[in-house]
């Protein structure tokens, strides 16, 4: 999404919503799990696409972040009664089980496919269109680039890895709670991109590094990684200006 000049700070919604919906459906049946997961994918794509159409660069950051916080705060309200038991709420829902070895192979395959897809799109005509929109939306429209189509594709490309990651996360832990929408998860892609110097491949490695660092630091003192995340965010304007797309300057009108 950065390519079309938008930074999303609410990726936890894309990451978490389809699996959360799917897990809610799994309470009733495996079919409903698949149906609600797919419906969650479509809905989350439509919402983010709508946001990218309705807002400018600066407002998009705010809207996605505020929206993800809203979902985080509101999701524990979802409670069902099944066979006389209450399920959902703060605890969340259970998720289908899958063997660990199969899961890891699937994860690596998805990663490779996404990486190849990204490289292909980046070098294609549509990739250049995305770059052009990121540089200047008005001029891109003037030279005949189909803004809607390009934006939609860019949002979709951003959604696919988030949905896949959410699914893998669900299978890994066998359980989905409202914490999947937490701020830490929302800002994780931004932090990984920052640590990965804005390079997509490096960002993948930095994601792994951050996850392992998180395990180490949190075992030293629970919550320590949260402090590291917050410090990275505080220092982000200084250490990683490349991640920020052109937005309104402080004090700029409007």
């Amino acid at each position: 999404m950065r390519r079309i000049g938008r930074i999303s700070m609410g990726h936890s919604f894309l990451f978490g919503f389809p699996v959360f919906a799917g897990a809610a459906g799994y309470t009733f049946s495996a079919e409903l799990f698949i149906q609600l997961f797919l419906a969650g994918c479509v809905l989350s794509f439509l919402i983010f696409y709508l946001f990218s159409e309705l807002t400018g660069r600066t407002a998009f950051v705010f809207l996605t972040l505020v929206f993800s916080i809203f979902v985080w705060v509101a999701s524990p309200k979802l409670v069902f009664e099944k066979d006389g038991y209450l399920t959902g709420g703060e605890v969340g829902f259970s998720f289908p089980a899958i063997t660990q070895s199969r899961l890891h192979i699937t994860a690596i395959l998805i990663l490779v496919v996404i990486f190849v897809l990204y490289r292909y799109v980046e070098k294609s005509r549509i990739g250049y269109f995305m770059q052009a929109i990121g540089d200047d939306e008005t001029s891109s429209r003037a030279v005949g680039i189909n803004l809607r189509k390009t934006k939609a594709l860019s949002v979709l490309l951003s959604c696919v890895p988030a949905w896949s990651a959410g699914l893998i996360y669900g299978f890994e832990f066998g359980h989905i709670s409202p914490e999947i929408f937490s701020i830490e998860i929302s800002v994780f892609p931004f932090i990984a991109s920052l640590v990965g110097a804005g390079n997509p491949l490096l960002s993948v490695f930095s994601s792994f590094a951050l996850v392992y660092l998180s395990k180490i630091l949190n075992s030293i003192y629970p919550g320590l990684m949260g402090i590291v995340y917050s410090l990275i965010l505080i220092l982000s304007p200084k250490i990683g200006r490349w991640v920020y797309v052109k937005g309104k300057r402080l004090g700029e009108k409007g």
Binding site: I7, M9, R57, T58, V61, F62, L65, V66, I69, F70, W72, V73, A74, I183, E184, V187, F190, Y221, P222, G223, L224, G226, I227, Y229, S230, L231, I232, L233, I234, L235, S236, P237, K238, Y244, G247, K248, R249, L250, G251, E252, K253
Partner: protein, 215 residues
């Protein structure tokens, strides 16, 4: 909370996402040191330091907003780390009547500023920050004072609300979210100065009446 979000956004030109964390910090201060002065001083110092950091290293609204988000998470994580024996805290006193006093005081200050000779300058800052600076308004000072005072108010609001709440590090997020929504809704009226803040009050009451605080 809507008033604090609105003041920060209109005068400071950024969405202050640390206000939720500061609100929760107020609750913790009430639990550990039940003194409003500690809350006031802590809020002022935190707000001042954040304003200083934003002035020094941020160039855009987005950067300032993300910095404030980092600051909010830092507070929240810090609160979670300092005392982990139980997740929710409860205090035995109820300072909530002082919340009304704090609100009235905040509005009185706003009206005093906007009806003073400095009011027009503040309106200029709200409408066009850059133009205000070109016409002699020290926008950096206005930004620092606003951020410090709103941070202090957020901590005090958390402090005075503590008797009504199950205190946890994420206590403030619901309030922050409601504040952002009410603030965004009121901004649609395109008013400026004291009139805007009066409308904000009306919209806040209406939203609490019809929707309740999202928490």
């Amino acid at each position: 909370m809507a008033l604090l979000v609105s003041l920060n956004f209109r005068i400071g030109r950024f969405l202050n996402l640390s206000l939720g964390g500061l609100f929760a910090a107020g609750g913790y201060i009430a639990y550990f040191t039940p003194s409003p002065f500690v809350a006031l001083i802590a809020g002022l110092i935190f707000g001042f330091l954040m304003a200083l950091t934003i002035s020094r290293i941020c160039r855009s609204i987005t950067e300032a907003t993300i910095l404030s988000l980092g600051a909010g998470i830092l507070i929240e994580r810090f609160l979670e780390m300092i005392h982990r024996s139980s997740y929710y805290y409860f205090v035995s006193f109820d300072y909530s009547p002082y919340l009304v006093v704090l609100g009235i005081l905040a509005y009185l200050i706003i009206f005093a500023v906007y009806t003073s000779p400095y009011g027009l300058k503040m309106k200029f800052v709200e409408s066009d920050h850059e133009l205000a600076e070109l016409y002699g308004v020290n926008t950096k000072r206005v930004f620092t004072v606003t951020t410090s005072l709103t941070s202090a108010c957020a901590v005090l609001a958390g402090f005075f609300s503590s008797g009504l709440l199950a205190i946890s590090p994420t206590t403030g997020f619901g309030y922050l979210l409601s504040g952002i929504m009410v603030s965004a809704l009121t901004a649609q009226f395109r008013q400026i100065g004291a009139v805007h803040y009066l409308t904000l009050l009306a919209v806040s009451f209406a939203s609490v009446r019809f929707l309740g605080v999202l928490i």
